[in-house]
């Protein structure tokens, strides 16, 4: 297959970025999107024209959350329920123009080319996205029964891979789906109840502080989530938030 790639190049966070065009030929339809970029880089290295295109990637099986490219206007490209590394070239037409950009959101500054800094997500989790336990001294696992449907819902929310597609897809760069997924995961479990009110308060405040935008309920995040995390998690986040506003015991 043959493609014309338009790739965002930016040397570092301070430099001005621009699109660069690269023609590419002889790509197998069974090739994954990142393997296609590997081939391009191999050519750039062999031809000594330009520095290879930098893009984050690691597990290449859709679970680590490291890869994330904006492809022809969609985070993770034109397929549902997959990450960029799971996208294959057979999803494109021979001769296509492909536009490749990094996540664009104020809290995710570009490091180089298509690589962005997502440490803002870590900071939101550090604000309270956990159950406070120290190692040891916990009760036997089966002394905490959890209704199966709740455990399943918690699991669905917990499958978030922290890739940032929700933020990239949102016109406001809101992180509500990411935060909603973590708040839901823990709020659905009995273990998570004790800190629930405090947790949602701290996580939402941190999210705002880091410059993520507000949610205006367009649900682009849900449509683009590679793990198909549902918008109901945002509703649950809102309910938890309101509960925390009125019900939280203050010191």
């Amino acid at each position: 297959m043959k493609f014309t790639l338009h790739i965002w190049r930016q040397e570092n966070a301070r430099a001005k970025g621009h699109f660069e065009t690269y023609p590419l030929e002889g790509i197998s339809p069974d090739c994954s999107f990142l393997e296609m970029l590997d081939i391009l880089n191999e050519q750039l290295i062999n031809d000594h024209i330009a520095h290879p295109v930098c893009f984050d990637n690691d597990c290449r099986e859709g679970i680590c959350g490291m890869c994330g490219l904006y492809i022809n206007g969609r985070p993770h490209g034109n397929d549902d329920g997959i990450t960029t590394c799971q996208l294959h070239m057979r999803k494109f037409h021979d001769g296509d123009d492909i536009w490749i950009e990094p996540w664009r959101a104020k809290p995710f500054p570009v490091i180089r080319d298509l690589v962005v800094d997502r440490s803002a997500f870590d900071k939101i989790i550090q604000a309270g996205g956990y159950i406070s336990t120290t190692t040891g001294g916990v009760p036997d696992a089966n002394t905490i029964p959890v209704p199966k449907h709740k455990a399943d819902m918690a699991m669905d929310a917990a499958s978030c891979i922290g890739c940032g597609a929700c933020v990239a897809a949102c016109k406001n760069a809101s992180a509500m789906l990411f935060v909603g997924a973590k708040v839901s995961h823990l709020a659905l479990l009995p273990q998570g109840q004790i800190e629930a009110a405090d947790r949602v308060h701290k996580m939402v405040c941190k999210m705002d502080e880091l410059g993520f935008g507000s949610c205006t309920n367009t649900y682009a995040c849900e449509a683009e989530c590679p793990k198909l995390i549902k918008r109901q998690n945002i509703s649950r986040l809102n309910r938890q938030w309101i509960g925390a506003l009125f019900g939280r015991d203050r010191k």
């Binding site: 570092n12 197998s28 069974d30 090739c31 990142l34 393997e35 590997d38 081939i39 191999e42 290295i45 000594h48 520095h51 290879p52 690691d58 597990c59 290449r60 099986e61 859709g62 679970i63 680590c64 959350g65 490291m66 397929d79 329920g81 997959i82 799971q86 294959h88 057979r90 490091i111 180089r112 690589v115 440490s119 870590d122 989790i125 550090q126 996205g129 956990y130 159950i131 336990t133 120290t134 190692t135 040891g136 916990v138 009760p139 036997d140 696992a141 089966n142 905490i144 029964p145 209704p147 199966k148 399943d152 918690a154 699991m155 917990a158 499958s159 922290g162 823990l186 479990l189 273990q191």
Partner: protein, 654 residues
């Protein structure tokens, strides 16, 4: 080098209890004065840092990715073993211990394995307390499933994403400590060297991957939890950035490396389909619960399939060879990984392979007919979807094609009972050490070991070491040892970048190749001659080819850019540089071990039915290698394996 495994005295079942009762402790006020470095944020690293931080030590943790949650533990699918006996099917600590020793083909240390089985239950308790959403039954209690090499159901799971959920649990605990200030997080930082002062591990040199700056960190102890070296083979189920370099620089500084030739090859991976391929995707072992593995019985059928003239569904039942069920009636499709992998290779080498010739079928037609498509979809839906996305074939209609691939390395840094390497103050945990799986790891045991080491072993054994360190005071990072280590790294990086600069001067730029070009070539050599089957001839050849390739690498590798910027090509290059040395050691170890055991299969040593043939008389020991300088053959020390408790037997799954 003297190996002292420090196994506590007394009966096996009391060793850990006795150890804990008599070890040295550090009082809370002193903990604050002690610094610990943890490298790696996978299950072992994150759990160790979280536990040590919560105890009050000052911890610095490092990872090469943009977040601790990216570590490759996240990709583990199937589950985690624990001897809870919730299913009342006869499980116990003793049973898990015995299965693990047998699964490892009697090449693991008894005391370590017993301790692993002993703490396994507490891991599940800890994870549930953290909110890990394990699968549950309708009564709200925890569910289990079976894995290879066991006859009980002791595997806890969270859909096909158990590793992810366990890692997020540990990441949560770690995040809490970061918020409390007991742990400092350093992302996109790569360990480049270990600093040894007066014989003790006292710090590390790291490269900031964004700016390229070299930075120094000093501490009273260092924990290495950087995973395995499976990417030595280029194509593996490991993540692209997983590498063996951190462990290897420790080896260069004097830490012994144990059993490097024990490499696990996983039987159910999506086969290789092209030269451009960057990695292999695993299909969970749990699929073997219901899938049946076969190849055509007739060679002409296999040929017709390969030529695209025949479909697998057109081959009648009587012309299919369900070779695992034929050879191993007792365990059938659920034999351990090494056994299943070799059997697939045997059929393909004999000319019965499908696809490119290097693939076999994993067929769910019977399961779909017997259980219904809905049930199969519920159990394996996400895996089937993953398969379809990659191959564009529908596994509900046509059998999956699978082939073995490099997956895990049982070998690693040699550690004693306290998980301390031969360098005092340097500890190794998880896949980075060699300790618990012998010559073959059972499914769902890697997660168990990573978390056991981090949550329940290191927090005890490290105190035993650190108790004396309170008299040392703060460790300085400005000593000559740090200067020297940093200089070595600088020289190394410059040497790599010089190759391209030299070629530019001599206008020979067009003769150069990318790092990947060399890594792929190295992987091919290792897979071909030191992979699933090895012998004197193939290993001799491998050694020669690796030397030649390394020579070429130093003349012809081109790394664009400089060391003072975000430069992934440079990262790949220094990791590959270490792989060249590591490859030689893997080959030497494979050569010296003239027996077959677990994942190490020497074709000269097999039974008439093609099974592994151990030589307990000569090889019942751990081979611990000591670095002697680049290009020099390493020397080997033996740690004899003494089995006081278990009855040694042939490993039989028939």
């Amino acid at each position: 080098m003297k190996l002292d495994s420090k196994i506590p005295a007394g009966p096996l079942a009391e060793k850990w209890t006795n150890y804990k009762a008599s070890q040295k402790l550090v009082n809370p006020a002193n903990k604050r004065k002690l610094d610990i470095i943890v490298v790696g944020t996978g299950l072992a690293g994150a759990s160790a840092a979280a536990s040590l931080g919560a105890m009050g030590f000052n911890v610095d943790i490092f990872c090469i990715q943009d977040s601790p949650r990216r570590a490759h533990s996240i990709a583990a699918q199937g589950g985690i073993n624990a001897a809870k006996n919730y299913q009342n099917d006869g499980d116990s600590v003793e049973r898990l211990f015995r299965d693990t020793i047998k699964g490892g083909d009697y090449r693991a240390r008894e005391a370590n394995v017993y301790r692993l089985a002993e703490v396994s239950g507490a891991i599940i308790d800890q994870c549930v307390a953290q909110g890990v959403p394990f699968a549950r039954d309708y009564g709200g209690l925890l569910d289990n499933r079976s894995f290879g090499g066991a006859q009980v159901s002791r595997t806890f799971y969270a859909k096909g994403q158990t590793g992810q959920q366990l890692l997020l649990g540990a990441y949560g605990a770690l995040s809490r400590e970061i918020a409390r200030g007991t742990v400092k997080l350093h992302t996109r930082c790569e360990m480049m060297d270990l600093v040894v002062v007066e014989g003790r591990a006292r710090g590390i040199i790291v490269r900031n991957l964004v700016t390229g700056d070299l930075e120094r960190y000093a501490a009273h102890a260092v924990v290495l939890a950087t995973g395995g070296y499976g990417n030595l083979y280029y194509l593996s189920t490991n993540a692209m950035n997983s590498n063996g370099s951190a462990a290897w620089v420790c080896h260069r500084k004097g830490a012994a490396f144990a059993n490097p030739c024990y490499v696990q090859i996983h039987p159910t991976c999506i086969p290789v389909h092209g030269d451009y391929q960057s990695k292999l995707t695993l299909m969970s072992e749990s699929l073997r619960n219901d899938g049946r593995i076969w190849v055509p019985k007739k060679k002409e059928d296999a040929e017709a399939i390969r030529a695209g003239k025949l479909k697998p569904t057109e081959i009648p039942e009587e012309n299919r060879d369900y070779y695992l069920e034929r050879r191993y009636p007792a365990f059938g499709n659920l034999v351990p990984r090494d056994v299943a992998s070799r059997a697939a290779k045997e059929r393909c080498d004999a000319g019965y392979g499908v696809g490119t010739g290097y693939a076999v079928y994993l067929d769910f037609a019977d399961a779909i007919q017997c259980l219904g498509k809905d049930v199969v979809e519920q159990k394996y839906g996400n895996l089937f979807q993953m398969y379809q996305k990659i191959t564009d074939e529908n596994p509900y209609e046509t059998p999956m094609m699978i082939y073995p691939a490099i997956h895990y390395t049982m070998g690693g840094l040699w550690v004693d009972y306290e998980l301390q390497t031969t360098i005092p103050g340097l500890f190794a945990a998880g896949e980075a050490n060699f300790s618990d799986h012998g010559a073959n790891r059972l499914g769902a045991s890697a997660l168990m070991q990573g978390l056991a080491d981090g949550y329940f072993v290191l927090p005890y054994t490290m105190q035993n070491y650190l108790a004396d360190q309170i008299y040392v005071g703060k460790i300085s990072a400005t000593t000559p040892e740090f200067d020297a280590a940093e200089e070595v790294v600088r020289v190394r990086l410059n040497r790599l970048l010089q190759i391209g600069a030299q070629a530019t001067l001599n206008s020979k730029l067009s003769t150069l190749n990318s790092v990947d070009h060399f890594h792929k070539a190295l992987g091919k050599i290792m897979w071909e001659y030191c992979g699933m089957a090895r012998n004197t001839e193939s290993l001799t050849k491998a050694k020669k080819l690796v030397s030649e390739l390394e020579e070429e690498f130093w003349k012809k590798v081109f790394i664009p850019g400089t060391s003072n910027e975000f430069n992934p090509e440079l990262e790949k290059a220094y990791r590959l540089e270490d792989y060249f040395e590591l490859a030689q050691l893997v080959i030497d170890d494979a050569m010296h071990r003239e027996e077959s055991c677990g994942g190490h299969f020497r074709t000269e040593h097999q039974t008439q039915d093609g099974e592994t043939l151990r030589d307990d008389e000569r090889f019942m020991y751990v081979a611990a290698w000591e670095y002697q300088g680049h290009g020099h053959t390493e020397t080997m020390e033996k740690e004899p394996l003494v089995y006081e408790h278990i009855q040694i037997a042939n490993r039989n799954y028939k």
